[in-house]
Amino acid sequence: MASRKPETRKPETRSGMSTPLVRVSDVTKHYPGVRALTGASLEIEAGEVRALLGRNGAGKSTLIKVLSGVERADAGTVEIAGVPLDGGVRHANRLGVQTVHQELSLVPGMTAAENLFLGAWPRTAGRVDHPAMRRAAREIFDRLGLDIAPDAQVGTLPLAEQQLVEICRAVRREPRLLILDEPTSALAAAEVDTVLEAVRRIAESGVAVLYVSHRLDEIRRIARTATVMRDGQVVGTVDLATTSTEDAVAMMLGSTYEKAVRPQARVVDRATTPLLSVSGLSVPPKIVDVSFDLYPGEILGLAGLMGSGRTEVLRAIAGFEPAAAGTVRVEGEDVPRVTAAGMKRRGVGLTPEDRKSEAIIPLLGVGENMVMSDFRAVSSGTSVVPARVDRAARALIERLSIATASARTPIGVLSGGNQQKAVIGRWLHAGSRILLLDEPTRGVDVEAKEGIYRLVRELADKGAGVLFVSSELEELPLVCDRVIALRGGTVAAEFTGDEVTVDAVLSAAMAA
């Protein structure tokens, strides 16, 4: 079996000083209008697992792109085992850099062994050698303590095992530096153990591992040190044993972090019957036991790290995901069987996280995108009346201040913010009183965000209950009256009114 050995060159050593396996010196990378990385420096030893911490937009992805050769630094150097990296991805691969990205790139219909060797299947006497592949796969799996059958079709494996196959594919190429980008973000807590153990063994064999993750509890189990980034700069490298979560969060947010102007606190009557009442909700594998109440006129934020299951909670309530256990009550009445049609009838409206692929129909007009939730309201008998569609559309466009040339403009042409407003408008058309908004300001510019916050507050003022999921922690204090944080499949913490601060929420979401 041919394995590609990384390029070697004897690293120059000054007397007594050992060269770190990975050295990033003063790397700067600019994109037009954005300083993604400025003067970033770090060093990783062979066999070390280094965590990389930082908010979204702190520069982690850019650093990874520079390390893996996808991007070339504008200034500064990257050295792997003393050899400067200054070519593309292939050069980086030859120097021994392998990256495992968040999105899996496996072929579901092929076996695990074949996926390990995708595009480079071992050949003997001109023909693809399946037994050799199987042996090599078993050897790697055994080495990392994994019980995965080399002949198993990857599509039938649980997600955690698929992730491990992806990791093994990188390991097979005998890397010097293995970059893992949020390897456990989509996994449930129980599945994470196997991945961490595999990473431990990889590091023990002398590979330097750069582990990007937000989950501090996992990071503490696998890494000794963590490099924290903020605003494109490396803030520092800390010893995890002696650094508390609060300190790490403070490094990530910075001492000059300004608390944005918080709008006047809203008065929410929590003595009445909740609009929505969820208890004991379980959606395997991520959600174990979630309970909360949503009151009329309340904007309840649902915080948590990526992979904590917030989307699953929303989808389960809206009837798009089967729950293993739990009850849902709408306005005090038990919902015996949660179905999408039933919940819609009861006034629940969900705006999906992935606007482009799950929310808008890009080629249809803005108006049609909105009235599709209730065609009967714009029909006469069995026919949809275009004039009524236009009237309804115009009314909504005005009410929501959607910037569009006409109601018939294809919605795909509109900006993200206006698209989002239209998606919310869809549920206003249907008369929904319980709005489940999944990352409503993602891909929306600053001004439009304000518009959406205003809209959400107005809707709440009129009595709607809003469940607001957001990964952008800064906006939670600007919109939400109360925030619950998900961690480990349950509600870990709850903050009301002035208690809602970015530090508090982030700590609760990450804490360990």
Binding site: V107, G109, G119, L157, L159, A190
Partner: protein, 340 residues
């Protein structure tokens, strides 16, 4: 060594235990066994109800009919696994029969020359369709629909819709006859079966086809040359259509622009019944072989049973949909739903 406890993934049923481990990832093997059983059942049923089914003459006839579908089916199997489709087989075969007939007679190329030219042209027209798909992203349904229309029209145009007689030649006699009692076309089909089965499993080209069909993005990231492979795929089916056309002309003694009408549907049906998913990424030659046998035997049986020829189509349609429905259900049970 830590063992991973695999909790059953949500949304799908999985069988447990050793049998489970073996079968869960191999729903296609389950499918092939099922198909084999179905063929055996068919044989038993027809042997007892259709007069003359089990005669050597009839069985050889079945082999010959199977070859007409089977030869092109090997290539179309690879095409469908890669996530594409080829609907040009019928007219391409007819056109090839016209080419070889005209080439050997009117155009004075001689038997061997005509065969060579026909094969070469088959590769070329297929490569053009493949090129349009690979480089310009024209959907393969459309590129092969274009071939369907153009080649079909050319075949009729060149012959004024009349058959063109093949000149006498030892080559054509052998191709249209038997070798050691077995129809030559069937031998060609079986030899090609072995070749394509090998390609599918033991060549980088074959594994790349499964990769492209399973996850084209991953294929690209792994450095696989999608353009080259896509062109090769359709050049191959073009070649195989030409082979089928030549064999058909040899057997009938003439080339005809209206021959092999509807062959593309029989080929696709055989491939899909054999367990290859239209969505791509799954399938294999063995399944297609069983699918070819299945379809051919049913056709033969319906004729022997004296079923009205129009009703034969009704029966075949019902059986094809039924067979694929069984495939889909079996595949769904054997495949867990991966959580995103």
């Amino acid at each position: 060594m830590t063992t991973t406890r695999t909790a059953p993934p949500p949304g799908g049923t999985r069988m447990t235990g050793v049998a489970g481990r073996l079968l869960n990832g191999r729903s296609h093997q389950l499918n092939e066994i099922g198909l084999l059983v179905a063929v055996v059942v068919l044989y038993v049923a027809l042997a007892s109800s259709a007069a003359g089914f089990l005669t050597v003459h009839n069985q050889l006839g079945i082999l010959r009919d199977a070859a007409t579908v089977g030869i092109a089916a090997w290539g179309v199997t690879l095409v469908i696994i890669a996530g594409e489709i080829d609907i040009s087989i019928g007219p391409a075969t007819a056109f090839a029969s016209v080419l070889v007939a005209k080439g050997a007679s009117e155009w004075g190329l001689g038997a061997v020359g005509a065969i060579a030219v026909t094969l070469l042209l088959g590769v070329l027209w297929g490569a053009v369709a493949g090129w349009l798909r690979a480089v310009f992203d024209v959907p393969s349904f459309i590129t092969t629909l274009g071939l369907w229309s153009v080649l079909g029209g050319l075949g009729l145009y060149l012959t004024d819709a009349l058959p063109v007689t093949l000149p006498d030649s030892a080559v054509f006699d052998v191709l249209g006859g038997d070798i050691a009692g077995i129809p030559t076309s069937a031998i060609v089909m079986l030899v090609l079966f072995v070749v394509f089965a090998y390609i599918a499993r033991y060549t980088a080209y074959g594994r790349s086809i499964y990769t492209i069909g399973g996850n084209a993005a991953a294929a690209r990231l792994a450095g696989i040359n999608l353009t080259r492979i896509r062109i090769l795929l359709f050049a191959t089916t073009g070649l195989l259509s030409a082979v089928t056309g030549i064999l058909l002309a040899s057997r009938l003694g003439s080339g005809s622009g209206s021959a092999a009408s509807g062959l593309e549907f029989d080929v696709i049906a055989a491939v899909v019944i054999g367990g290859t998913a239209l969505a791509g990424g799954r399938g294999g030659m063995l399944g297609t072989l069983l699918g070819v046998v299945f379809i051919t035997v049913i056709g033969n049986g319906l004729v022997l049973l004296g079923v009205d020829s129009f009703l034969q189509n009704v029966v075949r349609g019902v059986i094809i949909v039924g067979a694929v429905l069984v495939n889909v259900v079996v595949a769904r049970r054997g495949r867990a739903v991966a959580t995103t």
